[in-house]
Amino acid sequence: MGKRYRNASYPHQNECDIVRRSRYLFWGFLPAGILIVLFFITPAIWGVYSSMTNMALVGKAARHLQFIGFQNYLKLITDSAFFTAIMNSVKYVVGGAIIGQFLLGLGLALLLEYTEKKGIKGGNVVYGFVMLAWLTPALVSGFEWGAMYDYYYGTLNNILKLLGLSKINWLGKTPMLAVIIANIWQGTAFSMMVFDSALKTIPVELYEAAKMDGASHWQSIRYITLPLIKNIAIIDLINITMVTFGVFLMIMAITNGGPGMKTTTLSLYAYRAAFENYRIGYGCSIAMVLLAINLIFGFTYLKVLKKIS
């Protein structure tokens, strides 16, 4: 980016101008500020309140809203399904985001950079299809992968049959792996874009100098590229972790959290507690845990971001 004027002051200003202008700036910020406070911050605070009530959609609690303090949270601690959901979230994030999206995205970016340099064609097509997966809305992705995994008629099992292999019960035997594969499919493009842009900022001279010194391609990746994109990698990791942690629609469309609780992640568990078991208050307490975890990620993210810029 070009020159920045973030803290530049106007050259010919006096006290009076500053005061007058701040007033205008305040009015400019106000509409957005009000919207954010009313419809973004208020729900979050409202969530804290709701999580301390017995708010429900059925039964006696639906009629008699009561403040019950920390009872929902105490229940949460003894709810084994809650811990199963947390473990599932960890598996989903580690498998899908940290291992899958991150490594595949980095690998793809390096490969595309390499083929572009060597003049090998076809990189654009690969880039296009990876992007297409990322553009596909979560529900549509879930629909597509549900069809892929279908035990009786699905594409994957039909391919296995053509190859003379026996069918695999993807969603019954390996449900977590199945949703992770779908998650990698959808999310990889982000990391690929991040690294693709980052690689383009590395000056070509560095590589040329390395080549003069007799470094192989792998050596220049190892000693030039990777150290230079280290910070970007951390940012990318935190980002995809946060996103993967919060999404649940695709899982809902593929397995609906099953079999049993095997693919119910924390965010899906919150949704189901509130809108399928109709316990709004309890669902809110799970949502608040989600919120807290995400804020911790968020703080870390900003710290790294600050350090870099």
């Binding site: 959609l57 639906a62 009786y152 049993g260 078991n277």
Partner: protein
Amino acid sequence: MFVRSKWVVVCLIALVMILSIGIVINGAKKITIRVWYPDELGIKPKYVDQAAAAFRKDFPNVNLEIRRFKMPPRDFKTKLLLALGSGEGPDVIHFSGGSNIAEFADAGYIVPLDKYVNSWPDWSQYPDAVKGGVTYEGHVYAIPYGLDMRWLYYNKNIFRAVGLPVPWQPKSWNDIINAAIVIKERAPDKIPFALYAGVAGSGGTLAHAFLPLFYGAGGKLYDSKTGKWIVDSPAYRKTLEFYREVFLKYKLSPQEVMTLPKPWTTMRRKIGTGELGILYEGGWVYGGYIHNLGLEKARETVGYAMMPSEHGKFFFTIGGSGTVWYVCSQSKHPELAWEYIKRFNSKEIVAHINIEDPHPVARMDSASLPEFQAQKYLVDCTNALKYAKFPPLQPELTKVTYRIQLLTSRVASGELTIDDAMKKYISEMKSDLGADKVEIVK
């Protein structure tokens, strides 16, 4: 600057005027009665419309708004409750009865119908057992029209091909398992048996899989004397052992029943197409076979039997009050809502809808119609209902159903042993219902 702000003011005033005109027009509308009902099959609309026509004839000044929800019951329930929870409910609700009656009544969503049924001469046509099924805490809350019962279905073509007897009436659980083993061995490309488990099975996991076994093992879910839920008993262990044998030991039922988005759709179809051997399902499902295959062919292809108890000491079916009509407490004109319900539950409509979508009828005079008597299948259903056992109609049943869904899938998927799954189930039930609301029977 000045010119701009003038335009802004003009625009704002115009906007406010348009909005207020809209509100005035909205407010001037005549009385509206809204009816919500879920239906995926496509049989109900005809009869709902018949009742609507009768209603409109008698109340020409009332705007009757009927909305069909083409979605599975669980999704409709979420949608309905979200609307009720925010005070945007309809006047007339059509939904399954059972424990919903208690849940809705506790939440204050539905009104008692006592004063309406007392002045309704037709109410005397309903047997006491049927009335009991819609009575909660001494009040009638719903009007049923077609009752639920279930069969153990089997595909006769598969049975004949593998040398099993047709007609078939298993005498014990072992008979079922053995028949399924024969199918697995002699017709390996068929699915021998489908037993619902897990959350994916929705209500079917309870009424079409767990309860027929559990009751057959002499189990009791709710103790009406103490008002406590029974969370552990020998019947639990026997039922889960059956699950384990079916899913893990002999691998008779596919794991997909726990992962398909709507396993019952697939499994019901497969019984008709001859891809599945045995399935416990609702009596009304037979209507689908008649619809798809024709009456004659359905009779040749799909057989039905009563569920045997564990060792064949008795035979029974799982009964229920079926889908019922409620008057919503958010209705501004409950008396008009009732008028609609009354017109739907006429002798003729009740008979004809249950012939087309086969259920035993709720009012006895409908069963006496010759059209109804001509249907052998419906007569069989009505007779089977005499041996019905019912799920407990307590408001907690939804929570308990969810826990039973988890319990069955933990065993069926091999995630936990029966002992560990039971331990988890007991602690979950204690936490859901309160330790003083559960008991263990040795």
